[in-house]
C-alpha cells in the first residue's frame, strides 16, 4: 500500500522511502519523514495536485506522484 491509498484523516506507518527521487527523498528525510514514522494524510489538492501530510506533529506538502512512491502499512 502507498501513501495515496490512505484515506483522508487516517494514519499509517511509513515502510519504504527508497523509490523516491533523490532530492525529494533527502528533503523528506530531513523533515522527519522516515521509515517507521507515523504519517497522517490530511488532505489532497484537486486535479492531481499535491497532498498534505502530518509527520511528528509537523505538516508537509509533497506532490501526489512522489506520495505514491512512499510505502505505508
Amino acid at each position: 500500500m502507498n501513501l495515496t491509498d490512505l484515506q483522508q484523516g487516517k494514519t499509517a506507518v511509513v515502510s519504504d522511502v527508497t523509490k523516491l527521487n533523490d532530492i525529494v527523498k533527502q528533503r523528506l528525510i530531513d523533515m522527519g519523514l522516515v521509515e517507521g514514522q507515523e504519517i497522517c494524510l490530511k488532505c489532497a489538492m484537486p486535479f492531481g495536485g499535491p497532498v498534505m501530510v502530518e509527520v511528528c506533529g509537523q505538516c508537509l506538502s509533497l506532490r501526489r506522484k512522489e506520495a505514491s512512491r512512499i510505502g505505508v502499512s
Binding site: 532530492i23 530531513d30 523533515m31 522527519g32 489538492m45 484537486p46 508537509l60 506538502s61 506532490r63 512522489e66
Partner: protein, 670 residues
C-alpha cells in the same frame, strides 16, 4: 572581538533572536527560507558580532541558500556556534545539532519556542539535556525576547577560558567508526577542520565537503574507494540502503535514547487552531478560491477602499499648503528664478508626485507582511503547485512572485530556496513581470485620467496581464531550455501564528523605507536631471519645452512607439527615465506637463493620449524592462551576463508585442 554564528533548522526563530540580540530589523516570516543570505550584526552593549544565516536541515546543501551556510562553516572565522533548536520539533532538530557538535567548535544550544512546546504538552528537562550533550542549553522565546539576556551572557562569558563550551556528546557509528578513523588519518594536516567531522560528512556524501577535500588533497581515489566499499558492505549486511541512511539511523537512535531521558510528552490529541484553519483554507475545493479572494481584498484595500482616499489627502497637502509654504519660503530668502523653478517645478513636482503614493504602497507592504508572518504563504505555495506544475515550475516559485508584487528585488532573491537550478533561473526571469508597487503610481495616474469609472478593474487587469504573460513565458522558456530537469516540490507548512504588531510594523517599514529612500535618491536625482534637460536646449537656457534637450532626445525615439499609440517625445522621454525606477515615469510627466497637482496632470494627459493608447502605455510600463535595481539583482543572482541580457531583451520584445496588439486590435473596435 569575537564572532558567533547562528545555525539551526529553517523557521525556528533564528532571525527573531538575531533581531533581539543585535537590535536589528532583519526579515522575519513564518515559512522556511525567509533568510537567504548571511547577515552580521553587533550584539547589544558588546563588541562581539553575531552572524545570522539561512536555515538548514543538514550540512549537505541542496539549494543556494543552504550553500551559503556550508560555505560559511568551511571558510569563515568564528568562535562559537549558537544552535537554535525548535523545542516542539526536537527529534528532527537534533539531527543537525549532532552534526554541529561533531564539527568541534564550542557550541551553545538555544532551546527556542518553549511556549509552543508547552502548549503541545512537551516538557523538556533542559538540565539533563545539557548534561548529556555537554553543552549549555538555554531555553528562550525569541518572539518575546524571554531568556535572551541569559543567552547573551552565556555567549560572551567564557570565550577566553579554555573552551568549556566544547561539547562532549558523541554518536557511536558502530561499524563505521573504524572507517572514520582510517579516513581521518588520510586527510592532510594543513586543513584546520575537525577530521572526524570531515570523515562523517564525506561518508554521508556532503558534496561541498567532498569538493573541499579534493581541493586540499591531490588524490582522493583512495577515499572514494573506501567509501564505496563500506557502502557495499552495509547493503550486503542488510544494515541500510545507503551510507546516508545508515548514518541518519545511528543518529536517530541516539536522539531517541536521549529524548527518552529528557522529555515528557503528555500527549494532547485536541485539534489545534492550525488544524481548524487548514480545514477551510486548504480545502480541496475552497483552497484556490479563498486565495484568489484574499488577493482581491489585498488589491482593493491597496488601490480602492483605503489607499486612494489617503493618497488624495496627501496630494491635496503637497499641491496646496506645501507648495505655498515653499514658494513663500523661497521668496523670503530671495531665491533666484532659476532656483524657484528648480524647486517648485522640478523637485516638488517630481518627488512629491511620487511621494503621494506612499499610503498605497505602505498598505500593500503591510498586507504582504501579514501574509508572510501568518503562515499562509506556505499554504499558498501548496494550493498553487498544480497550476505551477503545468507551466513547468513548482509551488515554491510562487513565493518569490508574491513578494515580487511588493518589490521585484527581494522577490528575485527569494528564489534562492528553489532546489532545482533551472526552476530557480526561470523564477528569476519571470518575477519582474509581477507588477511591483513602483508601477502603481503610473497606473493610478492614467486610470485617474481615462478610466475614472473603472479604476480598480483596469488596474486589476494589468496585474492579471503580468501574471498571464509570466505563465505563457514560463511555458515557452521551459519548452526551450528546461525540458530535461525534473521539477520537485516539497514544502513545510508551519503552524499559523498571529503576527505580532511590532514585527508587522517593522517589516512593513523595512520594505516601505526603500520606496521613500528611492524618492530621496533616484527620483530626486532623476527629477533634477529631467528638469534641467527640459530647462536647457541646444539654443540656450530657459527654452520652450519643445525646444529642450529632453524633447530632442525623446523625439529621436518617439517614432518607434508610433505604432503603439504613444509616439510623442514626452512618452519616449519618460520611458527612458523609467529605467532608473518606474516611478520616475510619473515624475517625468509631472515635470514635462508642468502640472501643479495630480488632478491637473490628468487633465493635460487626456489631450495627449486616448483611452486606448493609455492602456497600451500602461501595459508597456508593466512589461518593458526590469528597473535598474532589478537588473542588477538578476545579474548578481544568476551570475551570468547572458541571462541578464535575456531578461532585459525578452521583456522589451514582449512589451512591444503586447502593446502593439492592444493598440492595433483595440483600434478596430473603438
Amino acid at each position: 572581538m569575537s564572532q558567533f554564528a547562528l545555525l539551526g533548522n529553517p523557521n525556528t526563530g533564528k532571525t527573531s533572536l538575531f533581531n533581539h540580540l543585535t537590535g536589528s530589523y532583519a526579515y522575519v516570516g513564518n515559512w522556511s527560507g525567509v533568510t537567504i543570505e548571511k547577515k552580521v550584526g553587533k550584539l547589544r552593549h558588546q563588541t562581539d558580532l553575531l552572524v545570522d544565516l539561512p536555515g538548514i536541515y543538514s550540512l549537505n546543501p541542496l539549494s543556494k541558500d543552504e550553500e551559503v551556510v556550508t560555505e560559511f562553516l568551511l571558510t569563515d572565522e568564528f568562535e562559537k556556534i549558537l544552535n537554535i533548536v525548535d523545542a516542539s520539533q526536537l527529534k528532527r532538530n537534533l539531527q543537525l545539532t549532532i552534526q554541529l557538535i561533531e564539527f568541534g567548535k564550542p557550541l551553545i544550544v538555544g532551546l527556542n519556542m518553549v511556549d509552543v512546546a508547552q502548549s503541545r504538552g512537551i516538557q523538556i528537562n533542559e538540565k539533563k539535556l545539557s548534561d548529556i550533550l555537554g553543552v549549555r542549553v538555554v531555553p528562550i522565546i525569541a518572539r518575546t525576547g524571554k531568556g535572551c539576556d541569559l543567552l547573551t551572557k552565556e555567549l560572551t562569558s567564557d570565550t577566553r577560558k579554555k573552551s568549556p563550551g566544547t561539547p562532549t556528546f558523541k554518536v557511536d557509528y558502530g561499524f563505521l567508526e573504524e572507517i572514520i578513523e582510517q579516513m581521518s588519518e588520510l586527510f592532510p594536516d594543513d586543513v584546520n577542520l575537525n577530521k572526524r567531522w570531515m570523515a562523517v560528512q564525506y561518508l554521508e556524501g556532503n558534496k561541498r565537503v567532498i569538493s573541499y577535500v579534493s581541493q586540499h588533497m591531490p588524490n582522493t581515489a583512495l577515499l572514494e574507494q573506501i567509501k564505496q566499499e563500506v557502502e557495499e558492505e552495509l547493503v550486503k549486511r542488510g544494515y541500510a540502503h545507503s551510507l546516508r541512511q545508515f548514518i541518519y539511523h545511528m543518529r536517530d537512535k541516539n536522539i531517541t535514547h536521549l529524548l527518552e531521558q529528557t522529555t515528557i510528552v503528555t500527549s494532547s490529541t485536541k485539534t489545534t487552531t492550525t488544524d481548524m484553519i487548514d480545514r477551510v483554507v486548504t480545502n480541496k475545493f475552497l483552497g484556490l478560491p479563498i486565495f484568489l479572494f484574499f488577493m482581491y481584498v489585498v488589491f482593493m484595500l491597496t488601490f480602492d477602499w483605503l489607499g486612494t482616499p489617503l493618497s488624495d489627502v496627501l496630494d491635496g497637502f503637497m499641491s496646496g499648503p506645501l507648495t505655498t509654504w515653499t514658494e513663500n519660503g523661497l521668496h523670503v530668502i530671495g531665491a533666484s528664478k532659476f532656483i524657484k523653478d528648480l524647486v517648485l517645478n522640478g523637485i516638488i513636482a517630481g518627488v512629491g508626485g511620487v511621494l503621494v503614493f506612499v499610503p498605497q504602497i505602505f498598505i500593500m507592504f503591510f498586507l504582504i507582511s501579514f501574509l508572510e508572518d501568518s503562515g499562509y504563504m506556505a499554504r499558498v505555495a501548496m494550493v498553487m503547485d498544480r497550476i505551477m506544475e503545468s507551466i513547468g515550475l513548482n509551488g515554491k516559485a510562487f513565493i518569490p512572485m508574491i513578494i515580487g508584487f511588493g518589490c521585484n528585488v527581494p522577490g528575485i532573491m527569494a528564489a534562492r530556496t528553489i532546489e532545482q537550478p533551472k526552476e530557480r533561473l526561470l523564477t528569476i526571469l519571470l518575477t519582474p513581470l509581477m507588477s511591483c508597487s513602483a508601477r502603481l503610481p503610473v497606473y493610478a495616474l492614467f486610470v485617474g485620467a481615462f478610466f475614472v469609472n473603472h479604476r480598480a478593474l483596469v488596474v486589476l487587469s494589468l496585474y492579471v496581464l503580468g501574471i498571464v504573460v509570466a505563465m505563457v513565458m514560463a511555458r515557452i522558456f521551459s519548452f526551450l531550455f528546461l525540458k530535461k530537469e525534473k521539477s520537485v516540490f516539497v514544502i513545510e507548512l508551519p503552524p499559523y501564528r498571529v503576527p505580532q504588531a511590532l514585527t508587522l510594523w517593522r517589516s512593513t517599514w523595512e520594505k516601505g523605507k526603500g520606496f521613500i529612500r528611492k524618492a530621496g535618491t533616484f527620483i530626486f536625482a532623476g527629477s533634477v536631471l529631467i528638469w534641467l534637460l527640459t530647462y536647457a536646449g541646444p539654443h540656450g537656457w530657459n527654452v520652450e519645452m519643445d525646444d529642450s534637450f529632453l524633447a530632442f532626445i525623446g523625439g529621436v525615439l518617439a517614432p518607434i512607439f508610433e505604432p503603439l499609440g504613444f509616439g510623442t517625445w514626452q512618452a519616449a522621454a519618460s520611458l527612458l527615465t523609467g529605467f532608473l525606477a518606474k516611478e520616475v515615469v510619473v515624475s517625468t510627466m509631472n515635470i514635462i506637463y508642468h502640472a501643479p497637482d495630480t488632478a491637473s496632470l490628468t487633465g493635460v494627459l487626456s489631450t495627449q493620449y486616448s483611452a486606448l493608447s493609455a492602456l497600451s502605455f500602461m501595459s508597456f510600463i508593466l512589461l518593458y524592462i526590469p528597473c535598474l535595481a532589478t537588473v542588477a539583482t538578476i545579474r548578481k543572482e544568476t551570475a551570468s551576463k547572458k541571462w541578464t541580457y535575456v531578461s532585459v531583451i525578452y521583456s522589451l520584445v514582449i512589451a512591444y508585442i503586447i502593446s502593439l496588439v492592444i493598440y492595433q486590435i483595440g483600434g478596430l473596435f473603438f
